[in-house]
Amino acid sequence: MAKFQPLADAVRDNLNDGDVVAFEGFTHLIPHAAAHEAIRQGRKGLTVIRMTPDLIYDQLIGMGMVKKMIFSYAGNPGVGLLRRMRDAVENGWPQPLELEEHSHAAMANAYEAGAAGLPCAVFRGYRGAELAQVNHNVRSVTCPFTGEVLAAVPAVRPDVAFIHAQKADRKGNVLIEGILGVQKEAVLAAKRSVVTVEEVVEDLDAHPNACLLPNWTVGSICQVPGGAHPSYAHGYYGRDNAYYIAWDKIAADRETFSSWMEENVLNAGPEVFADRVGKLRSAA
């Protein structure tokens, strides 16, 4: 049953050194505030999973918290590469980074399989793609009716999933709307979950088929207005595209990165996020 708690407590209770963790969000609703809290708590040796690792994974990697990353597209969308991740992969700074790389279709199916309690996902994919040769977790099964060879990947089953959502009601039922990504799957596939929300309301007043996580499927709920910034929350505030563009320069240099992290993450708290989205609210 969902427990309402401050973000620092939720991260402390749910994320341990060495965990397999997914901070999910597909451009929309990326849980930046939760990742920053994890950085402040200095967890180590994490295996991080995400379809589209972008800024927060660049930050986790740059801070030396990540041992392995399972992913399908690691870029700053529309801007360029992830410079901290490149530095880890190409130069081993601040530590080497093991990669398990998939396609989006494989990752989406793997989350679906995780939510569905299956050991693996089966789909038509990877044909002629070289990832199937470098990733030992791309295998195959044969359709027992047609003989077609289909791709198989292991289900994603994180120790803990962090997502950001629009709102929760007082009972802890969580509503996600707009671009849904794989957030519902991430929570259902994970052993534990933490959901940051823009607001807590009396009644979700949702469509009968709205994407919703009932309170008994969610571990912790933390109210963190603006908690997705510079990503966005449909109906609340727009994406801070300028911030994404600016990140490219910050991440380009180790020292610039470190001092930026010091000032904006290590010496800050979840409460800074509400201010950051102030001027973006009209754009939502």
């Binding site: 597909f26 379809m51 190409e90 989350y111 789909f123 044909r127 671009i179 519902k184 300028a242």
Partner: protein
């Protein structure tokens, strides 16, 4: 050609937009494909269905998205589905007629690399990776590719097969059991290319206005094959050019704003 009324980049986008039909269902890659697809929608193909991998179906953005999941895409979509459904029902389900991709490295058979430069295990440059491309390349009815020509981009051998085009050419797709057509069109800033019916090697069929064969060869890392009869790509019309420039101007205004990535930036 002195004082061209349009840039090679604009010609590329306009030529790419023309390849799309009103009844196409197009899975849109980010960057150049996104501009071309939306110019098509705003000119000759108003009913085209544009799908982005974020789950937005039938989207009609007023400004180009920076990412594949900007709010604008959802706000203007007919509907938005979860990402597993997007890849299962919509892409794998065979509902996409055109997959439109960009490339970091491309070879003459339409094979694409967006994964690494150098060795996979010890790359010189770690690129973002394939994202949706491996299955877009396999499940879309056909594939259009658009990229600016350069010796670094159009290469004899790509460093990594992120997504499969025609492999070694010929019937390589069929031999792997892939039933879709694969790459059927390449639009660069200099020319329009189509695969040879037999060998599947990309062949220049049209040069953009003022472009020479030598210019095409000078910016391509393999020995270019030219069709016996080469057309000249019609230049952008006023409508096409105005539509593209207005779209870019709206996009620039929307994306710029004041950057505010914290105090130390």
């Amino acid at each position: 050609m002195s004082g061209p009324a349009f840039t090679p980049d604009e010609m590329m986008t306009v030529a790419a937009s023309r390849a799309l039909k009103n009844d196409d269902v197009c899975f849109v890659g980010i960057g150049a494909p996104s501009a071309a697809c939306n110019v098509a929608r705003l000119t000759h193909a108003p009913d085209i269905t544009l799908i982005y991998e974020s789950g937005t179906i039938g989207t009609a953005p007023d400004v180009l998205p920076l990412s594949i999941g900007d709010g604008e895409l959802c706000d203007t979509a007919v509907t938005t589905v979860g990402v597993p459904e997007m890849f299962r029902y919509w892409l794998q389900g065979g509902r996409v007629t055109i997959g439109f991709l960009g490339a970091a490295q491309l070879d003459r058979f339409g094979n694409i690399n967006t994964t690494v430069i150098g060795d996979y295990a010890h790359p010189r440059t770690r690129l973002p990776g394939g994202g949706g491309a491996p299955e877009i390349a396999g499940s879309s009815g056909e594939i259009f590719i658009t990229m600016k020509q350069s010796l670094r981009g159009m290469v004899e051998r790509i460093d990594f097969f992120t997504s499969f085009g025609h492999g070694e050419g010929g019937d390589h797709r069929q031999r792997l059991g892939i039933e879709t057509k694969g790459p059927t069109l390449l639009i660069t800033d200099l020319a329009i290319w189509r695969p040879d019916p037999q060998t599947k090697e990309f062949t220049v069929v049209s040069l953009h206005p003022g472009v020479t064969k030598d210019e095409v060869q000078a910016t391509c890392g393999w020995t270019v094959k030219f069709a016996d009869h080469i057309e000249e790509t019609p230049p952008p019309t006023d409508l096409e050019l105005t539509t593209l420039r207005d779209l870019k101007a709206r996009t620039k205004a929307a994306h710029e704003g004041r950057p505010d990535p914290g105090k130390a930036a």
